[in-house]
Symmetry: C2
Subunit: 542 residues, 2 copies
């Protein structure tokens, strides 16, 4: 028997409509790509987004069509985002940091009909133009005065289009499972894979994110998403900000410490979200210039493990609570958030830090599972390593144009991460599944050894990979890039690790190299490193 | 084109499962009906709820069957609630404060197969037993030692059933639009009407309620829902508490000031939700005994307009923020919440109070509309009165076994309330639509005049109704019940209103009566009053 509640499809156009109706004068402030800091109200942004829909329809865009954005975090980007999604088209956020060949692959694979681009990326598009022949139109996000000379064909000026467009358009009214957004993961293996979000998944993700333990946005908040909209949807802030009636501050193209600091202070930011490197840049800028933060209360950091030093520095020197989050493009992205539990409030900072450095507990709507390679559930003891699987209405079921299922028998998605879960429920990522070293049936975290080994004063960069061993299958091999002028003494590095890791984790050998390869996102490219070391044999391998 | 996210039906069994998985040791504390304060963890509550499902299935309960509860707020009630809903049966919360004939009507109309009852209500059920012949079984929520002598047939002891039941049961796995809960409105006109919630509506209501501006629950919260689970689902707290991993404190049968105060202090309650009268009782108790509140930070009050005095007293004397909410059984119930906006933070308390006494702004997921009788939208100027209509996934579309639609052309539900909405978006209820006085095409709030007139020192109770008038259609008639020994001087009451209301709101006559009839919920029964005054003619009516 069905209940008798209203049919009200969860479509994201309702989010901006809510902001327009109930928080019309609240602002979105942007450091524009052209330079000046500009602002629009939600009422104005709503009208401009409807004009985007209006001109897209005039260009023949229909429900299901992919329209791409190659843009920084700006209010213009938010307008395009809602303008595309409101009419049932798919907003494909392109990551300008990808290699050119990856961008070409993604644009063609998605069959993007139109690309919105910031001025910054016009040269990038010009360079790949011959390889993306099916793109029908390029809309440059600027006004007539700033339109560049370009060899891009079928170019339109964004502000000119808006001036000529009407707000007369129908938003929503379609099934909540309609595709809404598309974002490709930049995996180090194989081609990028597209995650195709639905209106329903984005709406539910917004509600999940509005919880006090996650983003916790309210009209009293001023939110600065440093994390880009092309990076896992800016962790939902382009939805959660208007949904809560919060002021949003968009950093545009500048994410250096000085630029971020200026926005935090002049706009009275209370909450931010960023990857560790950006926040490290901010820390350095503030220390060098002896600056303080006067309004920021809380910052959510994710995208990579947050160094303990960063948590301590922001807490001790700036009175800011650093909260770690974990997620993936495939999870919309919120997976877990690491807040302290009430029983920890009386603990020492050192005791608290042990939990703050973990990735945390899932909110309602996310299930997690820890399994061994045979699919057996592993204990939540904080020590046993296992494959991390995830399930929920905001988690991918398949990749765009992908083949077959990516879910296990219980409909969980395999994150490709190895993790522990402790008795209080805190999940901690320990490694990528493909990088973990499998020694005698037990798992060794390559990342944990690397993080320790890099602390040796002679080491500039350290990497650990599994090397073949006839008895143990794999044993850890420590690869170091030494600082200028240093020479290798293997025992020195092993001694340095002594007592910090279990004896059976101790690398069987240490090798010095001139270069440790890094991928597009700055992480060590283990795949390439393994490839380069393929002829290496462990001395213990007999 | 559909997106590619996981299929994860929004069913409420997932809420308690989430609490069991991620907050297993957090507690639900109850002042038991038998007397002592008892507690269970979410892990224990989950197992007990699954045993409820198990024995209900053994009794033949299937998906869609209605199972009723006649219970106070207790952890046992929560177990029954999830145990019933988890297997797709419908949890019908009965309100013991209804008149016996209303209870009989509701039980029969719902076709309740089983009734869970607290010890308190056994005599009530015994009294109506001859009129509810289709109820197959009564489960008394106590242990074997406390089982009463009763003439109820087919009686079971709750704890004995639990001892014999297994946790082996399948929860969920059905369509998210499956009926989940049933709650009847106790309207003053016609028979009670049943609102049939879905799993989806309850799940979405939970997420909406978890927002920082609504319930804002986190694991650090200790929540005491004084508002009963049979009164609009305890405003969602039986879902939101476990969803957030918050400790919940259940008051059982005792809701007097002393009992509530004891629980607030001994259990470290941080947040509560209650109707004004309960909170007034608490205020009186604390003032008389010179007590303070050491942990409560915020209280959500709804169910009736919150007197300004109460807001000021809790803020000034106890440092507690009183937040007003508005909703209805038909709206799950959250409709609006009255938080202050950031621009009000520097305002004086007197300026802030003007917004705190309003019912507030809707959260994402709720649309409101203000209309005149002809369906024209009215301005949000804070002055224009209009019919309040509401729409959202948590709002009723029809009544159980009701005929025809209760929605307007835009699928909005008519609340039956008259309200204003101000330029900042704050909604304020001014009257019930059927009580508002329509004079010369303009609307006059009966409640506003009553609230003023009752302030006259000679008046014990005041009511205002519309009396027929040949020129103006209706004009206000003030009806007063005077205090013992007082005599009526009409002009005195009109003089008392002078300057406090618009001239054209001034009642055309004043009448003294021996009794003003009150309904089951303590509100003035205007329908009966109008019936009694049907032969009255205004002196101004010529």
């Amino acid at each position: 028997m069905h209940g008798l509640m209203q049919d009200w499809p969860l479509t994201v156009d309702r989010i901006l409509e809510h902001a327009k109706n109930w928080h019309p004068d609240r602002k979105v402030v942007t450091r524009s790509v052209e330079g000046p800091i500009v602002s629009v109200t939600y009422a104005e942004l709503y009208d401009r987004a409807r004009k985007v829909s209006n001109f897209l329809q005039a260009f023949g865009i229909k429900t299901g069509d992919r329209v791409a954005t190659l843009c920084w975090n700006t209010s213009n980007h938010m307008e395009a985002w809602y303008g595309i999604m409101g009419i049932g088209a798919v907003c494909h956020t392109l990551n300008p940091r990808l290699f050119a060949e990856q961008l070409v692959y993604i644009i063609n694979h998605a069959e993007d009909r139109i690309i919105f681009t910031d001025l910054t990326f016009v040269p990038l598009l010009e360079a790949i133009l011959p390889h993306i022949p099916k793109v029908e139109k390029f809309i440059i996000m600027t006004d007539a005065d700033h339109m560049p000379q370009t060899k891009l064909p079928n170019v339109e000026c964004y502000e000119t289009l808006l001036e000529q467009a009407s707000t007369d358009v129908v938003w929503g009214g379609f099934d909540e499972r309609t595709a809404c957004g598309l974002c490709y993961t930049s995996g180090t293996t194989g081609n990028p894979k597209g995650v195709l979000y639905t209106h329903r998944s984005n709406f539910l993700h917004t509600l999940m994110g509005l919880q006090a333990t996650v983003l916790g946005a309210t009209p009293k908040d001023v939110i600065l998403p440093v994390v880009p909209m092309f990076h896992a949807n800016a962790w939902g802030i382009a939805f959660a900000g208007p949904a809560a009636g919060a002021k949003v501050v968009m950093p545009g193209a500048r994410m250096d410490g000085a630029a971020i600091y200026e926005l935090l202070e002049t706009e009275g930011v209370t909450f931010s979200a960023a990857v560790p490197t950006v926040w490290q840049g901010l820390l350095q800028h503030m220390r060098e210039n002896k600056l303080k933060l006067s309004t920021v209360k809380r910052v959510l950091i994710g995208g990579a493990a947050v160094p303990e030093m960063l948590i301590r520095a922001f807490n001790d020197e700036f009175g800011v609570e650093v909260v770690q989050g974990w997620g993936m493009t495939e999870t919309s992205p919120i997976g877990t958030v690491s807040n302290l539990l009430p029983e920890m409030e009386g603990w020492s900072q050192d005791e608290q830090i042990k939990y703050r450095v973990k990735q945390g507990i899932p909110p309602l709507g996310i299930d997690l599972k820890l399994e061994d390679d045979d699919g057996n559930r592993l204990p939540h003891d904080g020590e046993t390593y296992g494959r991390l699987l995830i399930k929920g209405p905001t988690v991918a079921a398949a990749y765009f144009k992908g083949e077959g299922s990516i879910l296990d028998k219980d409909d969980f998605f395999d994150t490709g991460d190895v993790a522990t879960i402790d008795p209080l429920g805190y999940m901690q990522i320990t490694d990528r599944a493909k990088d973990v070293i499998k020694s005698g049936g037990e798992w060794i975290s390559s990342i944990e050894i690397e993080n320790l080994a890099v602390g040796h004063p002679k080491v500039e960069l350290a990497a650990v990979i599994g090397a073949a061993h006839p008895k143990w299958d794999e044993r850890p091999l420590l690869i170091v890039k030494l600082k200028e002028g240093e020479t290798l003494d293997k025992q020195e590095h092993l001694d340095f690790l002594q007592g910090k890791i279990a004896k059976w984790w101790m690398p069987d050998d240490v090798v010095a190299v001139d270069e440790i390869p890094l991928g597009a996102t700055g992480k060590i490219d283990k795949k390439l490193l393994r490839e380069r070391m393929k002829d290496y044999r462990l001395p213990t391998a007999g």
